[in-house]
């Protein structure tokens, strides 16, 4: 190869592309290697049925960091967004519906139809979130505190972070310390009384965390979601990918799809040399940034002997038990849930007990008999994704385990499909009759298609010990024990979902070092 590169990026998902742009803008010669035929990873839209398109496997763009979008000047590449999370409708089994919008007062009025107490509680909840948001959002958009060594510098940053916490004021600080270890059910039960509203608010805390609403520390996940859920990308994840791709090309990034990396090449001093592709082509570069899962990076792309025991053990025990399945439906008409149509996002759950019961079977290798659904109707704002008058449904199904007893096969897939449709039918009677096409992706399918280890959509569970030193202490802060190898995917701080943060902070780390 005549061409040389400074940095190779493994994986062209939103994090890989974000990192590429940041680096290329600093005049680095960057090559992105994507295994699949399209870039975008979990944010890429696909045609799942002739004439019907999804808008990304993950569909929530509310956690995208807007500062990063601005820094990358994505508005110059056609990207539009709103600085508020989109409206989400919470569905009850009794046919009720409450719309949570960014307008707290309007939402409180909505809630008041069910409970005046809850309406007031919601106002207080929103104001509590507003008061802690600067602290939490700052925590999640800055480099994580370095906990891998106890030098003066590390202790100083830690002290600064604790001081920021203290500066919230005594009451707020104590409240935050009190609630973060709590389970989301206790936390919300203290405030609200209406079951389906509580359940709907709590739902995001459970996504990708191998917990039910009664599990400790789920409040932390909820607060993290609430504090950064503040945007809405027009056109959804695919629009973000389009803009990122254009920005990358504009910055001089070279992107190669259908290029699977087979091995990260290391020299005798454990330093990166480049990569070898599945075609045996060798591309040399002193720096490789991996946006694939940590397990893929260390177990599939590096020779086993290169891993010392600490790393081996850390990778082995990095928890990423996939519990999410995905259903794409092509419908030949518009869709409404509990009689409410025209919205993009719906959540089911109904009550903590029911959510907990949905989680219980996962522990024993079975899927929920009545799953918790996170529903997106992309065609509401993006009519081009389906034939005129038709719609597309993008449903994240919680919970279906990767390690299903008896394994994932056509039978078990069919059962999960039937259960999911039955649940949807409850909220949208007659929906089954309008199905023109469907695609169900089990965690096993997700692993297969997207290279997600154990089918985990966030590249690893969101848990306290896998947050600050994400994925694990040996590789915290985007670095690895191998000189020149960096991480920049969802397996790094601040974790999964479409945020662009791991890619951004990962790239910044690389720039600090070269």
């Amino acid at each position: 190869m005549s061409k040389t590169y400074d940095i190779l990026i493994i994986g062209g998902g939103h994090n890989g592309l974000t990192a590429a742009i940041v680096l290329a803008k600093k005049n680095k010669r960057v090559l992105v290697l994507e295994k699949r035929p399209v870039v975008g990873g979990l944010a890429a839209g696909e045609e799942f049925h002739p004439g019907y398109f999804t808008n990304g496997l993950l569909h929530d763009t509310s956690e995208v960091n807007l500062q990063v979008l601005r820094k990358l000047q994505l508005e110059n590449f056609g990207l539009k967004w709103q600085s508020a999370a989109p409206t989400v409708a919470l569905l009850s089994k009794q046919g009720e519906c409450v719309k949570l919008s960014h307008d707290a007062e309007q939402t409180a009025t909505e809630i008041a139809r069910f409970s005046a107490k809850d309406a007031q509680a919601y106002r207080e909840y929103i104001s509590f979130l507003a008061s802690i948001r600067p602290f939490i959002a700052n925590l999640l958009t800055d480099f994580p505190p370095d906990l891998t060594a106890f030098g003066r510098r590390q202790l100083w940053t830690l002290l600064k972070k604790s001081l920021a916490l203290r500066l919230l004021g005594k009451k707020k600080m104590l409240e935050l310390l009190k609630v973060t270890p709590m389970c989301v059910a206790d936390f919300l039960n203290e405030k609200f009384e209406t079951g389906f509203i509580k359940a709907g608010i709590a739902a995001p805390a459970l996504y990708g965390s191998f917990t039910g609403p009664w599990s400790s520390y789920t409040t932390l996940n909820l607060l993290m979601h609430e504090c950064r859920s503040a945007s809405n990308i027009v056109g959804g994840p695919q629009a973000l990918i389009n803009a990122l791709t254009k920005a990358a090309e504009n910055a001089g990034v070279e992107i190669r799809t259908n290029n699977a990396v087979q091995e990260i090449l290391l020299d005798e001093n454990h330093s990166v040399n480049g990569v070898r592709l599945s075609t045996d082509e060798v591309i040399q570069a002193p720096i490789v940034a991996a946006s694939c899962t940590p397990q893929t990076t260390f177990f599939n792309l590096i020779q086993p002997a290169q891993l010392n025991y600490t790393l081996e053990h850390a990778v082995q025990h990095y928890r990423s038990r996939g519990t999410t399945a995905k259903l794409h439906l092509a419908l030949n008409k518009p869709v409404a849930f509990n009689g409410v149509g025209g919205l993009e996002f719906y959540r089911t759950g109904n009550s903590f007990d029911e959510m907990e019961r949905a989680f219980d079977p996962v522990k024993y290798g079975a899927f929920s008999e009545e799953p918790v659904l996170d529903i997106h109707v992309p065609t509401v704002s993006n009519t081009g994704l389906a034939p005129s008058g038709h719609s597309v449904l993008s449903v994240l199904i919680h919970f279906a385990p990767i390690n299903l007893k008896g394994g994932w096969n056509e039978d078990s897939k069919k059962r999960l499909y039937d259960i999911t449709i039955k649940t949807l039918e409850h909220y949208s009677p007659g929906i089954s009759a309008s199905i023109a096409g469907a695609e169900l992706l089990t965690p096993a399918d997700l692993e297969q298609r997207y290279g997600l280890t154990y089918g985990h959509i966030y590249h690893g569970e969101h848990a306290v010990d896998q947050l600050i030193t994400r994925p694990f202490p040996a590789c915290a802060n985007y670095t690895t024990p191998f000189k020149g190898l960096y991480l920049c995917g969802s397996g790094s701080f601040p974790g999964g979902g479409i945020t662009c943060m791991p890619g951004y902070l990962g790239a910044q780390t690389i720039l600090k070092h070269c």
Binding site: A149, L174, K178, T180, P181, E190, D360, K363, P473
Partner: protein
């Protein structure tokens, strides 16, 4: 008005008695008031059936702080604990696992299930021992008040920070895992065999309303490694004469220093005047006054019953009401005609002289929890049984035995409401005996007498709100400076001259004695008495 005391202690549990002993030893005039006819609170021995002395509630001694034994000369006053040598797990398939104090013996036992686990087992206990150093730094001192800018509190916080720093990064991260992970996930970092993980993981859930897969339960595993440094894998033991023996030793020590103790003297209320506690009113109407009042009761009872809502400011009231108790366990005490023999390992050998766990698999344990989450007692519960008469034959007539069974889960809040527990009491007892009988053929024919204590009963007889054996859940948001509530964690309460010394204060839980000791020392240090 009768004679005036320096301090009146409400409740003669082991913490109250220890607190009394320390204060009396320092020359203070102390009165302990106990509602029941026996001392000890949950650490009590009672002759429930002629000739049989039961450790009614608390049944093993584990974390009792050794310096308290020395400082209060408890050995002189009859404190005697016989260490348990074995932890026995019978399995339904006829196999069993016994973990011994002797590491070689344990290795051979565990190797039958996993050679790797057998080798890692001592490694695990070494690491936990190292981490136990940190835990000791935590439990042997009052919790730092992080809200305070008082130099003393900051120094206390720094001391704790240093203990963390001294762990080094590797152990620090492990500690983060320990505090936040589930017991099972944490054990998964080391072990592969379910037969080993199941009985080990239950240490994380005893007394809590959590499952072995619930985040945050790993921390309690550490408790088992704090008492020991010499390679013996646990520091549990039987108190001679039942666990009441510990309380009685504390009581005798207190009396030897001049403390006054009254039984059958139930306190109705704390007398609060102008936001200050000045004395107590007994159920019989007597009023007793003291400079300081100390409550050995749980925070809920102390604030809401003894003080009363009208004396609390709204913030405190809100926090007290938020304090989670939620009892999750019951107790079944059996008097037996002869030694209960296990099908899988018959005989009355050493294997049943320690604790016996009915915890055949992690799935079994988690399913027991699942049932309880929705308001039912587990029909196949986790049982931790001991037969103390094998090591202390004085507890029962010759040849007869006592089997003391700690049972989880029995949620206080059953679907029909806690007050309906009495209706389910015998069904609960039957579930326990049925479960045991699957492992001990002929057990039912050996039973001479049976006592079933539901969480409701624990509340009614021992005054443990919601039947919580630790006077409040040991979850992170209720520990350290937040036990029982933030701002009032240093044994002080929001009422002047009213203190707390029970398990509901830092460090809380178990027959540890630390709360009573630290309360007394805090009072003496601040010259409150």
């Amino acid at each position: 008005m009768s004679k005036k005391y320096d301090a009146i202690i409400i409740g003669g549990g082991h913490n109250g008695l220890i607190c009394a002993a320390y204060l009396a030893k320092a020359g203070r005039k102390v009165l302990v008031l106990e509602k029941r006819h026996v001392l000890g609170g949950a650490a009590v021995s009672e002759e429930l059936y002629p000739g049989f002395t039961f450790s009614v509630a608390s049944y093993v001694v584990s974390l009792f702080r050794p310096h308290i034994i020395r400082e209060l000369e408890l050995a002189k006053h009859g404190y005697e604990v016989i260490p348990m040598d074995c932890s026995f797990l019978p399995l339904p398939d006829g196999d069993s696992l016994a973990r011994w104090a002797d590491p070689h013996r344990s290795r051979k036992e565990i190797a039958r299930f996993s050679k790797k686990d057998a080798e890692i087992y001592p490694e695990f206990s070494r690491i936990m021992t190292l981490m136990g150093k940190l835990a000791k730094a935590v439990i042997d001192h009052p919790a730092p008040d992080i809200t305070s800018f008082n130099p003393k509190e900051i120094a206390n916080l720094l001391r704790l920070g240093k203990a963390f720093k001294d762990l080094g990064p590797d152990l620090f991260h492990l500690n983060v895992k320990l505090v936040t992970m589930s017991a099972l996930d944490f054990l998964d970092l080391w072990f592969e065999s379910d037969v080993l993980k199941a009985p080990m993981s239950v240490s994380g859930i005893i007394g809590t309303f959590q499952g072995i897969r619930s985040p945050g339960t790993a921390y309690v595993l550490l408790h088992h490694y704090m008492g020991q440094l010499d390679g013996v894998f646990r520091s549990w033991g039987f108190s001679k004469g039942g666990t009441g023996g510990v309380s009685m030793a504390c009581a005798r020590a207190a009396m030897s220093y001049g403390a006054e103790i009254r039984t059958e003297a139930p306190v109705k209320q704390v007398i609060v005047k102008n936001g200050e506690a000045t004395g107590v009113v007994l159920e019989n109407g007597d009023e007793l006054y003291a400079k300081q009042i100390i409550s050995n009761l749980d925070p809920n009872r102390t604030y809401l019953k003894m003080v009363g809502e009208q004396h609390l400011d709204s913030e405190v009231l809100k926090e007290v009401k938020r304090y989670k108790l939620r009892g999750s366990s019951g107790k079944v005490n059996l008097a037996l005609d002869s030694v209960p023999e296990f099908k899988c390992r018959p005989g009355d050998g050493d294997h049943i002289r320690g604790d016996i766990a009915i915890a055949p698999s992690t799935e079994y344990l988690e399913k027991a929890y699942d049932q309880a989450k929705y308001g039912e007692f587990s029909t196949r519960p986790y049982i931790n049984a001991v037969i103390p008469t094998l090591t202390d034959p004085t507890l029962a007539p010759p040849g007869k035995h006592i089997m003391s069974c700690f049972v989880q889960y029995a949620p206080y809040h059953i679907k029909e409401g806690a007050e309906n527990w009495p209706k389910y009491r015998e069904a609960f007892g039957d579930a326990v005996v049925d479960t045991l009988a699957e492992y001990i053929p002929g057990l039912k024919d050996k039973i001479i007498f049976r006592q079933v204590l539901t969480p409701w009963d624990l509340e009614q007889t021992m005054g443990l709100t919601e039947g919580n054996i630790f006077q409040g859940e040991l979850s992170l948001e209720q520990l350290l400076f937040q036990r029982p509530i933030a701002g009032y964690s240093g044994y002080k309460t929001s009422i002047h001259r009213l203190w707390m010394c029970g398990s509901g204060t830092h460090p809380g839980g178990g027959i540890m004695g630390a709360s009573g000791e630290l309360c007394a020392k805090t009072m003496l240090k601040s010259r409150a008495v």
